[in-house]
């Protein structure tokens, strides 16, 4: 296969912090234009001819000549300006209506056969493909950024390896990254469903969204435990499958994506090159903005921004330009969630506020803490100990829920329930508890707890 065509159109984005130009030209400005014009012409001539040229161009205007001469002298000095602060930074955006896809259905890359293109990101394209050896569907992501050092010894490669070693139900598993026919690609778990962002705009209730967020938090906690920081948590990076499973995407991949499904909410810029600030401005942590080293606390901040958006349907930081947004992240406190949505439970508002503290040390100590806080939020305690909330343990293959006799008869108040499941090893908890769907299947070694709101007596049937 020939050298792969660059699919992404290289567009340079000017991060503009200045207000629109002022049309009124002052006297100084007009004069400056005149001076600048003469200066440019003079500099285009060899030094020896300048004097004669200035005689002609300036005539009797001595001050004009003086200005131009002093500027000529100044331009011969080395200036601070000659060494840019940052190495060239290129912003790469992929247009929604981009050119024809790089790979065609039926095409074979390594041992994967392409089925269809399923999306586009800042790094390249994403395809649905079939692993011919294992006969399973995978997602194949092509990488167009030749500057990415995937297989070397650099920091990026190390993180990519750590990310690929992650194995958790709430994280999209990476199977391999490799190179075939001159094309770099990542093969990973194929996930079909909706992003949290889409669910939010579809009007899914907050309680459900929080449940999903909590599962995502579990996945992120596992990644942190393995030393991987996500760096780009946002609603479009969290997927909920049609089976109700929550998967966090793009772990440890420092290059960001522009989601084509909802550009308003998930617009991001990809900056490559040394000195790049990488992330999605609206979700970046203050330390990301300042280019400081990142840790799990940075993910916690971004997670808090997400919770804010789920609860308030608005982002806490939104400026007119990317830089304005970054400025807000770094220096401004957002409107309190309670003001935007009075129905936000105080505990949630407090959690959001704590996650979004500017100083990393003041945020929750770990994603596990956040997951636990979300879990407690959803328990909605009314009468604490009187409802039977004991753990039920056993080797089970399915869990069904039934309630006491009263349920079928009169149910005036809406009833909601959830089943909390926790994996056990040798009689001790082996992971954070999570909300299971009522028809989920478990292998042996789990325990379950039933939460009913409003609290009622009930039964959990455990079926082998």
């Amino acid at each position: 296969m020939a050298e792969p065509r660059v699919n992404a159109r290289q567009v340079l984005v000017f991060l503009d912090m200045e207000p629109p130009p002022d049309p009124s030209a002052s006297l100084d400005a007009k004069r400056w234009r005149q001076i600048g014009g003469v200066l440019n012409e003079a500099l285009e001539l060899p030094a020896g001819q300048r004097s004669a040229f200035l005689d002609q161009a300036c005539g009797a205007d001595a001050s004009l000549r003086a200005e131009v001469e002093s500027l000529i002298a100044a331009s011969e000095q080395p200036v601070l300006l000659d060494a840019p602060v940052l190495a060239p930074v290129t912003a790469t955006l992929t247009m929604e209506h981009a050119a024809a896809p790089l790979l065609q259905p039926g095409q074979v890359v390594s041992h994967y056969e392409i089925v269809r293109k399923i999306g586009e990101g800042g790094m390249g394209e994403v395809y649905q493909a079939i692993d011919k050896h294992l006969r399973r569907t995978v997602a194949l992501k092509t990488i167009l950024d030749a500057g990415v050092d995937w297989r070397g010894q650099g920091h990026f490669a190390r993180e990519a390896r750590a990310a690929s070693a992650l194995n958790h139900p709430n994280i999209v598993t990476i199977y391999e990254f490799n190179r075939a026919d001159g094309l770099d690609f990542i093969a990973m778990e194929y996930v079909e469903g909706a992003t949290l962002g889409k669910l939010l705009s579809d009007g899914v209730p907050l309680a459900t969204l929080l449940d999903y967020a909590r599962q995502a938090a579990n996945g992120i906690a596992a990644a942190h435990a393995a030393g991987v920081v996500h760096r780009d948590l946002k609603p479009s990076n969290i997927m909920v499958t049609s089976a109700g499973a929550v998967k966090v995407l793009d772990f440890g991949l420092a290059r960001q994506e522009m989601s084509s499904s909802n550009p308003e909410i998930t617009k991001s810029l990809t900056l490559t090159g040394p000195g790049a600030i990488v992330g999605t401005p609206a979700y970046m942590s203050p330390e990301q903005v300042h280019g400081e080293p990142l840790g799990p606390a940075s993910d916690i901040f971004s997670f808090g921004v997400m919770l804010y958006e789920l609860a308030c349907h608005k982002r806490p930081f939104q400026g007119k330009t990317a830089l304005a947004t970054l400025d807000q992240v770094a220096h401004h406190s957002p409107v309190s969630p309670a003001k935007l949505n009075p129905q936000v439970p105080p505990a949630l508002a407090a959690l959001i506020e704590k996650c979004m503290r500017k100083t990393p040390a003041e945020r929750p100590a770990s994603m596990e803490e956040v997951a636990l806080a979300l879990c407690e939020l959803m328990q909605r305690p009314a009468a604490p100990t009187s409802s039977r909330r004991r753990w039920i343990v056993g080797g089970v293959s399915a869990v069904l829920l039934a309630l006491g006799a009263g349920w079928w008869m009169e149910r005036r108040t809406p009833l909601s329930y959830s089943i909390e499941a926790q994996k056990m090893t040798a009689g001790k908890p082996a992971g954070p508890p999570y909300i299971a769907s009522p028809t989920e299947t478990f292998q042996g070694g789990w325990r379950f707890r039933l939460h009913i709101v409003p609290p009622q007596a009930g039964f959990v049937y455990v079926v082998n």
């Binding site: 340079l12 984005v13 000017f14 991060l15 503009d16 912090m17 200045e18 130009p21 002022d22 002052s26 100084d28 400005a29 400056w32 234009r33 001076i35 600048g36 200066l39 440019n40 500099l43 002093s70 500027l71 000529i72 002298a73 100044a74 331009s75 000095q77 200036v79 601070l80 300006l81 840019p84 602060v85 940052l86 190495a87 060239p88 930074v89 040394p274 000195g275 790049a276 600030i277 903005v289 300042h290 280019g291 400081e292 080293p293 830089l323 970054l326 400025d327 770094a330 100083t359």
Partner: protein
């Protein structure tokens, strides 16, 4: 970018002088060594002055210096010809150079 870098420089100097504000540390990745703090602030002030004379020229400087774009890239971003961008750059650079030199005295 310019605002963030200049804020960094100002905070860095405040901190050096023993100010009470929280430390903002410039990451090496941004590649802006300590000694440039003073220069950056002086440049920032000078750029404000240039912007009053010619906004487009100040933008050219921002793009070239703070973002590291080439003349061709600058021209494309601003939607002007390369020749125009280059003339703007030459003039702006000369003016700023003179301003910075005067400032030092």
């Amino acid at each position: 970018m310019r605002r963030i870098l200049v804020d960094h420089a100002r905070a860095h100097l405040r901190e050096k002088r023993g100010g009470g504000t929280p430390t903002l540390v410039l990451n090496e990745a941004i590649d802006c060594p300590e000694g440039r703090s003073f220069e950056l602030i002086a440049l920032d002030d000078a750029l404000d002055g240039l912007a009053k004379l010619d906004r487009q020229q100040s933008r050219v400087v921002e793009l070239r210096f703070f973002t590291g774009l080439s003349i061709a890239e600058t021209a494309e971003v601003l939607g002007v010809s390369k020749a125009t961008a280059n003339r703007d750059w030459v003039a702006a650079r000369a003016w700023l150079s003179r301003e910075l030199m005067r400032g030092k005295c």
